[in-house]
């Protein structure tokens, strides 16, 4: 291809990207940067100081990080076997498994959160069943505390962990495992020495995604936490809605964004991918 033709082609491609670029700059990059700029209004760091010195805000951030870590851990333990099973399933199993993952995945978070309220409430389905089976005498508190929030969040985020691990497992050449077994390694050893290490890029990508998403979670902790579990996104919302304290909300947003991007950069260094189209 001559360079003139190539230039014309590149110009056309730029033209095709232009409308989306305008949208992304105007309604994403500009508003977010404008918000972040508010946090250093007047050239001072007082709002960051306020966030760092007040014990309440520090403990909310610590709680958010702790909840995000626990959710990531639980998701990993539940998701890895599912991904492994899917990667070895036949056509029917794969179709059923993907349906069981995708239907909840695309059902509104709100619907699912409401359903957990029905299931976990004081007189909810769970307590009812446990009592009928004689396992408990008094209702167990599952809702409006950390355990309720954890259950709800794991339910929402589990598919985000399964998909990257499943994708990584599909890229592992099954002949490698067979070769190991052919050379006399027991199945568990072939798994721990071959399959597991080769699937780690998917594990780290899934962990980063779930951790980052749970850090910014809003609806599920707001509803299932009953006001007892406060996460950083709820704090940001409160600053804007109730106190109209935009600079402080902006400072908290900057902290949340910095942690989020930091985790992505860290995972990116170790071979995760955070981009969409380029292979």
């Amino acid at each position: 291809m001559s360079s003139r033709v190539a230039d014309a082609r590149e110009r056309l491609l730029l033209l095709l990207a232009l409308p989306a670029l305008v949208l992304l700059l105007g309604l994403f990059a500009f508003p977010v940067l404008r918000l972040l700029a508010m946090s250093v209004e007047g050239g001072s760091l007082e709002y960051f100081e306020k966030a760092a010195l007040d014990g309440l805000y520090v403990s909310v951030l610590a709680d958010s990080l702790r909840i995000a870590s626990v959710v990531t851990g639980i998701c990993l333990v539940l998701a890895y076997p599912v991904a492994l099973w899917l990667s070895r399933a036949g056509r029917l199993g794969l179709a059923l498994g993907l349906f069981a993952l995708l239907l909840p995945f695309w059902t509104s978070v709100l619907v699912r959160t409401y359903a957990w309220m029905v299931l976990l409430g004081r007189n909810g389905v769970m307590n009812r069943m446990l009592r009928d089976w004689g396992l408990i005498d008094a209702p167990v508190m599952l809702l409006y505390n950390t355990s309720g929030v954890l259950i709800g969040m794991v339910h929402v985020l589990l598919p985000y962990m399964v998909f990257p691990i499943y994708a990584a497992l599909l890229r592992v050449d099954p002949d490698l495992g067979r070769a190991a077994e052919g050379l006399g390694a027991p199945a568990w050893r072939a798994f721990t020495r071959i399959t597991l290490p080769l699937s780690l890029p998917g594990v780290s990508a899934g962990c980063a995604l779930v951790f980052v998403l749970s850090l910014g979670f809003f609806i599920t902790p707001a509803l299932l936490g009953g006001g007892r579990v406060i996460m950083i996104s709820m704090l940001i919302e409160q600053q804007v809605r109730e106190f109209l304290d935009w600079p402080f909300a902006a400072a908290l947003s900057a902290v949340l964004l910095a942690v989020t991007l930091g985790i992505y950069a860290l995972v990116g260094r170790f071979g995760g991918k955070s981009h969409l189209a380029t292979p």
Binding site: L13, V32, T107, S108, I219, A249, L261, H275
Partner: protein, 257 residues
């Protein structure tokens, strides 16, 4: 043993979707399980309440406009991202992926600030445009996955036979991308139809369906919300089935990419 464990996890995933069905046809006015009797009253209440119906119509409008915008912007963007050899493409690729990574609450208050100035709060098309930012990455992921497996020589052949590039894309490329495009459009629609955090800030007094549901859960948990939930689950199920039928596994192949 693996199968048993996986079965339990799938049960955990499906349980909340299943539990709303019996609640929605319960005759009891408050949450009671198992339901004491059968009645359609919660569906009737939903259908007869102008508040619920208005919110539903508004959400359908916003999701439809969002789908059109996300496809209209995202499909051309995917062509640029997959085919351009210039360096700016990598930066643009990151920018297009960023709305997934940046917490929605940050985007919500950022847009809330801008939209209040423009007096766009409460306009359904404002919500639709904001949702487009979130839907765009899904469209780009699916479309570029399809585009990468497409052999560009077919377009050159059409061009050699005298077709303009746009005609070649319209008649040759896009029809072959149909599975990816159908899945992308479905994801864009559902992501907007279900979205709550942006809508909480931007929809003002004219509520979308998720906002109305949120307020309903906060105020009084009556089974009307279970009826609405069942309708939503069925909608997603039908859309997912249609995508499987016409999308020929584009969704599954993209996941396993």
């Amino acid at each position: 043993m693996l199968t048993v464990f996986v079965g339990i996890v799938f049960a955990f995933l499906m349980l909340p979707l299943l539990v709303v069905f019996p609640i929605s046809i319960s005759s009891a006015a408050y949450l009671q399980f198992p339901p004491p009797g059968f009645s359609w009253q919660w569906y009737q209440r939903y259908l007869n309440d102008p508040g619920w119906i208005d919110a539903t119509i508004r959400s359908v409008q916003a999701a439809s406009l969002c789908t059109v915008l996300a496809m209209g912007l995202g499909v051309p963007l995917s062509f640029a991202l997959v085919r351009s050899r210039r360096r700016w493409v990598r930066a643009l690729d990151r920018l297009a992926a960023a709305p997934i990574i940046v917490p929605t609450i940050i985007l919500s208050i950022a847009l809330y600030g801008v939209f209040s100035r423009l007096q766009l709060i409460g306009a359904w098309y404002g919500v639709a445009v904001a949702h487009t930012v979130l839907a765009l990455p899904f469209v780009v992921i699916l479309t570029s996955a399809g585009l990468r497996t497409f052999d560009e020589a077919q377009e050159q052949a059409a061009a050699g036979l005298g077709a303009s590039w746009f005609i070649a894309v319209w008649r040759i490329t896009l029809p072959q991308l149909r599975p990816s495009l159908v899945s992308a459009a479905f994801l864009a629609f559902v992501s907007s139809f279900d979205e709550l955090v942006l809508a909480m800030f931007l929809s003002g007094a004219s509520m979308t369906l998720p906002k109305k549901m949120f307020d309903n859960i906060m105020m009084e948990v009556d089974p009307t919300i279970a009826a609405v939930s069942v309708l939503q689950i069925l909608l997603v199920g039908v859309c997912l089935g249609l995508t499987a039928l016409f999308g020929r596994g584009a969704l599954a192949t993209t996941i396993s990419r």
